[in-house]
Every structure is written in structure tokens, then in C-alpha cells.
């Protein structure tokens, strides 16, 4: 039946055309908002820096990339290893990982609590979790400052009940940065875990109990493996923005607890070294991608072992 075949190919062709048409807006956005700018950043990282910021166009050099890890001596031009950037990088990774872990520790029970409420109450709880999002990040960070600064609420209270004589220095420490980041990113951990948990069939939990698994074993052998996608998503959603966080470390960490975000900002501002800023940005991206790959692989391998 040649006619039927013709119709089929025509329909298939129309189908492909429609698909391109429908995905065109998304493709345009991805190209102009993601791939394009990224390419510009990459290009800038290989150019000579301008004297007052910006770059000297079409003058290529790898100076910026070298200075990510090395230092060029002012007098004899020798290149030697420098750990200044590396230590900022390490602090960023360390604090972000710790933040992710703390968010998980607080976020998982929260999500479990919400998911086990009666259906009508759940939306209210979710709303409460997202309330901090309604306020500007800057304001929230100042609020944290108000809590932990030397004359802040926590120190005043501890002094008032006589637990301490001198205020505890919390501001401008890594601790302060972590407190701020956990506070800001916690909803990003709770929401995806809740989404997985809500889909969890609680009859499976009953089946676990029925088959002689105690509370901990049900958690470890039944609940955790089944909400793993939510945990993975939540960890990624917290870890990535934490790694590049700028406002929180800047306001709570000060100059001592410098993180990558602040370092990059410095290059585009006071440092007037756009190529270095671009190179650091690309480095950050590379770290994020490497960390993601590593994480997703270990987690999915763990899934096979336990599952």
C-alpha cells in the first residue's frame, strides 16, 4: 500500500518539524543565555587584562590561567607555585560540603515530618518552609548577623544567663558562613526530599515492619534507598550554589573566610583582572562538574550495592 506509506512518511516529517518548532524557544534561551555567555567567559580568560579592568581584545595569553595556581615574580619573571587561590578553593569546597551535610541532617527529618502529616496539612508546612524565600537574601543575612554578632541576641542572652563573661566571636568566622548558608539553603534540601518522600508508598514501610525490620532498619533498608533521588537532588541544589555563594560569605565571613565567589568578585572589581576572574569562574565550574560526576556515580553505585 504505497499511499499509506506516503502518509506515514509525511506524518513523520511533520512530526519532526513540529518538534523543532516547539523546542525552538527553549533552544534559543539555552544558546543565548547559557552557551553564549559561557563561551565569552572562556574567551576572556585567555586575553590580556586591561589596565583599568576589561580586557585587551584579541591579545591572547595564558597568564590568567597560570596565575590561578602560580605566582609570577615581579623582578625575574620566574613562576612559582602559590597556594593563595588554592586555599580559598579548598575552604569553599570544605564549607559547601559541610553545609550540604548539615542541610541533610536537618532537612531529612523535616521532609519526613511533613510527608507523614495528613494531606491537607502538608501544604501549610511546605509554605512555612518556603517563607524565608519571600524576603531578600541580603535582609536575611543581616538578620543572621544580628543573631550572632558580639552584641547580638545569642551572645547577649548567654551573658544574661551568666553562661559566659565575654561574647563569643562568631562573626567573620567559617562557623558564621556555615550558619548563614545552612539557613539560606535548607529549603532547597527539604523540598526535593519531600517530593520523593511524598511519592513513597508507606505500605512499603509497613511491609518492612511486618518482615521484622525495626525502625532503624526500615529507615536504612527501605526509606533511604527509595528517597535517594530526592537526597541526590537536594544535595546538588545546596552544594552548587553554596560553592559559588557570594553574599553570605561576604557579609558573615568577611575578609578572613574568603570564598570563591568573593574572590571572583574581587577580580572584576578592585583587582581589575577580568581574565583571572574568568579563569577562576571556569575553574569553579570545572570543580562543580567534577564533584557532581563523582557524587552521582558513588551514589548510584551505592544504590546497586544496597538495593
Amino acid at each position: 500500500m504505497p499511499r499509506a506509506a506516503e502518509f506515514a512518511t509525511a506524518a513523520a516529517r511533520r512530526d519532526i518539524r513540529d518538534r523543532w518548532l516547539l523546542s525552538a524557544p527553549a533552544l534559543l534561551i539555552i544558546f543565548f543565555a547559557a552557551i553564549g555567555p559561557l563561551f565569552i567567559v572562556l574567551l576572556y580568560s585567555f586575553m590580556v587584562k586591561g589596565d583599568y579592568g576589561d580586557v585587551k581584545f584579541w591579545q591572547f595569553t595564558s597568564d590568567a590561567w597560570i596565575s590561578v595556581l602560580f605566582e609570577r615574580d615581579l623582578f625575574d619573571d620566574t613562576v612559582s607555585f602559590a597556594d593563595a587561590h588554592l586555599s580559598v578553593l579548598w575552604r569553599s569546597v570544605k564549607l559547601s560540603a559541610a553545609t550540604t551535610l548539615l542541610c541533610l541532617v536537618f532537612g531529612f527529618p523535616t521532609a519526613y515530618f511533613i510527608a507523614t502529616r495528613p494531606e491537607r496539612q502538608r501544604d501549610v508546612w511546605i509554605l512555612l518552609v518556603t517563607i524565608p524565600f519571600w524576603t531578600n537574601l541580603l535582609i536575611r543575612t543581616f538578620a543572621v548577623q544580628e543573631l550572632i554578632r558580639n552584641e547580638g541576641i545569642v551572645n547577649s542572652f548567654l551573658q544574661w544567663i551568666g553562661l559566659i563573661d565575654q561574647p563569643i566571636q562568631m562573626m567573620f568566622t567559617e562557623f558564621a558562613v556555615m550558619v548563614g548558608m545552612v539557613y539560606v539553603f535548607l529549603p532547597l534540601m527539604v523540598l526535593p526530599i519531600y517530593a520523593s518522600m511524598e511519592k513513597l508508598d508507606f505500605r512499603l514501610v509497613e511491609a518492612g515492619y511486618d518482615l521484622y525490620a525495626g525502625r532503624l532498619q526500615v529507615l536504612r533498608r527501605v526509606i533511604l534507598p527509595l528517597v535517594r533521588p530526592g537526597i541526590v537532588a537536594g544535595s546538588i541544589l545546596v552544594f552548587i550554589p553554596a560553592l559559588g555563594a557570594y553574599v553570605t560569605p561576604r557579609l558573615l565571613g568577611g575578609g578572613k573566610s574568603l570564598m570563591l565567589g568573593t574572590l571572583i568578585e574581587l577580580q572584576f572589581g578592585q583587582g581589575r583582572n577580568w581574565p583571572l576572574g574568568a579563569a577562576l569562574s571556569i575553574t569553579l565550574m570545572a570543580i562543580v562538574m567534577a564533584a557532581l560526576l563523582f557524587y552521582v556515580r558513588t551514589v548510584s553505585r551505592g544504590g546497586n550495592r544496597n538495593g
Partner: protein, 365 residues
């Protein structure tokens, strides 16, 4: 059925679910029952009658407000579900989707802390028992509904529970598969010798599989007995109606003796009818007669009562005759079809209705 040891005993169990506001639901109302060892015991009733609640109380997922449940004589109230030697086959199987068939079956034994070799051996035995050896490495999402059912059975049987609870396990299967699984379940019960408590709303399933049946309605047990007792001698209107097709006839009690009553039917005749245990009827009563326990005959005079043939429906294995008795109401008679061909009855015919001995049963209400 030999009177074995008592496996489960419920004494005056009441379960109240607090609804929203002040409307509390009495899911179980003073329920008492005894289930013997090795018995295939069925809780039968429409949805919402409390049968699943009773099962969940035995499993330990809910706790009774009043009364107690004894397992081999000891109260199981203080035991959480994971300490009760009782396993459940859930309605939708509740197989762990992140585990293979093998891992599902071995889960209970593993949680009991059995050595690996023992678990593996037992899992192999179970796979053989439910004929699933080839699919042992599959994920539970990669097998069919009937196969999932068998895995769920194997998983619940693997730890050798004292009592196996089955919560409408066949309801998700299609007709043919359900028939196969009914036979399979009976075989498994026979081979393992474990007490089965089976919950269903399917009266046919209950009749074909059970040693004894408890018919439930609105949180109460209406009647307990063998399938034959329940079917032939229903004690209440609900039981008679819920199980099989039934005819109801009204009449008046003339006298009782030795578990039987002489009833003068409104249609005129006097018949002898069975009585529910310990029931002394008086005045007006209703008797039930199953459609296959009555025959229609051409000779109107030698029938017990007379009736007009209203409709004839052919069912393949048998034919249903819809009758209008002279006293009013409806009456259905079921005749098995013979190879000889049609019986020669026609619509509108005046016929006689004759009841078999002991066919009639007085209802309590």
C-alpha cells in the same frame, strides 16, 4: 477439619477510628472469634465492614481500643509488628521496588539475623515453592502481576510465620489468573501447614478456598462456619443476601422441635425449616431457600406451592427460571442443563414449586 490447637483468638475486640471532628467510626464492634491451627480462615464482607482492620490488628499496624488478641494463648498487644511471628501478603503486594525478587524474599530472614547461607537456602526453597526460580534476579517492576503476587507470597512465607495474613491478595488479578492463584494458594497452605487468614469481599473465592468463613458487616461478625453451613444455612438476611442468590418467603411459626421449626408459608403450605443456633422463633419469620434447592414441576397440584413462570434465562451450565409465587414476590429456581435438551417450560405457564428436604432455613431477623 480436626479441632487443632487454637492459633488466634480475639476477645471482644473494638476498634474506633477518630474521624475529623466528633464523628468516630466503629470499625470493629466487640468482635470475638477463634481460629485454629492449620486452618484456612476467611473474613468475608463488603468493603468497610472491618475485615481489613481486624487483619491489621493481628499484624500489629493498629491497636484495639478494647479487647485482646491472643496468639497461641498469649496476648500480642505489647508486641510491635516486627516482633510478631505473623506475616502479611498486602493487597497491592508492597514489594520493595529497589530490590530483586530474591532480595525481597530474603528480607524477612535477613532482618531476623539468620546466617547468609541459611537465608540463601531458604530463598531457593521459596522460589521453588512458588515456581519463580528463573526470575530470581529480576527487579519486581520487571515481572507481571501474577508473578508479583507469587513473590509477595514467598516473601511472607519465607520466615515461616505462625500465621499468614492475606489482605485481598487476588483482587488485582484478572479472572483467569485469580482462578489459578486460588488453587495455588490452597496448595501452598497444604504444603506449608501454616494457618492462613484470608480477607476477601468475593463470596465465590471465600466458598471455594476456606475451611471456615466469618461473614462480617458493619464491624460485627454475623456468622461463622464452614462454607457449606454459611451457604446452606445462613442465619441472617445479610449473610443470605451477600452469599449467592437467595429466595425469601414469609410465613408464620407453628411450632419448634430439635433445631427445626414448622412454618406455615403465606403461600399456603406448611414446611419444616432449619433454625440458627440457639434461636427460638415466634410469630412471623422469613425463610430462605437457595435457587438450586428447589425444582419446578409441570404438575401444579403435587408442588409445595404454585407459581407462574415469568422469565427463563439460559446460562450455559444451567437455566434460571424466574417465578411469581401465588403469595406474591419473586422466586428463582436454578436447574442444571442436561444433554437431553430443553425442559419444555414456557413463559406464562402455571407450575408447581417443590423444595428439597432441609432446603428452607429460618432467618434470625
Amino acid at each position: 477439619m480436626s479441632a487443632g490447637q487454637i492459633a488466634i483468638e480475639a476477645k471482644g475486640v473494638t476498634k474506633i477510628f477518630q474521624g475529623g471532628g466528633h464523628d468516630a467510626v466503629r470499625a470493629l464492634d466487640n468482635v470475638s472469634l477463634t481460629i485454629r491451627e492449620n486452618e484456612f480462615f476467611t473474613l468475608l464482607g463488603p468493603s468497610g465492614c472491618g475485615k481489613t482492620t481486624l487483619l491489621r490488628l493481628i499484624a500489629g499496624f493498629e491497636f484495639p481500643n478494647e479487647g485482646e488478641i491472643l496468639l497461641y494463648g498469649s496476648d500480642i498487644a505489647p508486641l510491635p509488628p516486627y516482633r510478631r511471628p505473623v506475616n502479611t501478603v498486602f493487597q497491592n503486594y508492597a514489594l520493595f521496588p529497589h530490590m530483586t525478587v530474591e532480595q525481597n524474599i530474603g528480607f524477612g530472614l535477613e532482618m531476623l539475623g539468620k546466617p547468609k547461607a541459611e537465608v540463601a537456602a531458604r530463598v531457593s526453597d521459596m522460589l521453588r515453592l512458588v515456581r519463580m526460580e528463573e526470575l530470581r534476579k529480576r527487579r519486581t517492576s520487571q515481572i507481571s502481576g501474577g508473578q508479583q503476587q507469587r513473590v509477595a507470597l514467598a516473601r511472607a512465607l519465607a520466615p515461616s510465620p505462625k500465621v499468614l495474613l492475606l489482605d485481598e491478595p487476588l483482587s488485582a488479578l484478572d479472572y483467569k489468573l485469580r482462578k489459578d492463584m486460588q488453587i495455588e494458594l490452597k496448595r501452598l497452605q497444604h504444603e506449608t501447614g501454616i494457618t492462613f487468614i484470608f480477607v476477601t469481599h468475593d463470596q465465590e473465592e471465600a466458598l471455594t478456598m476456606s475451611d471456615r468463613i466469618a461473614v462480617m458487616s458493619k464491624g460485627r461478625i454475623l456468622q461463622t462456619g464452614s462454607p457449606r453451613q454459611i451457604y446452606d444455612h445462613p442465619a441472617e438476611r445479610f449473610v443470605a443476601n451477600f452469599i449467592g442468590e437467595t429466595n425469601f418467603l414469609e410465613g408464620r411459626v407453628l411450632g419448634t422441635k430439635a433445631g427445626k421449626a414448622d412454618i406455615e408459608l403465606d403461600a399456603g403450605a406448611v414446611i419444616s425449616a432449619g433454625l440458627p443456633d440457639g434461636f427460638v422463633p415466634a410469630g412471623r419469620v422469613t425463610v430462605v431457600i437457595r435457587p438450586e434447592h428447589a425444582t419446578i414441576i409441570r404438575d401444579v397440584k403435587s408442588g409445595t406451592i404454585r407459581a407462574t413462570l415469568d422469565n427463563i434465562v439460559y446460562f450455559g451450565t444451567d437455566t434460571h427460571y424466574h417465578l411469581k409465587p401465588s403469595c406474591g414476590g419473586d422466586f428463582i429456581v436454578r436447574h442444571q442443563n442436561r444433554s437431553a435438551g430443553e425442559a419444555g417450560f414456557e413463559r406464562g405457564m402455571e407450575v408447581g414449586l417443590r423444595f428439597e428436604d432441609d432446603a428452607a432455613q429460618v432467618l434470625r431477623d
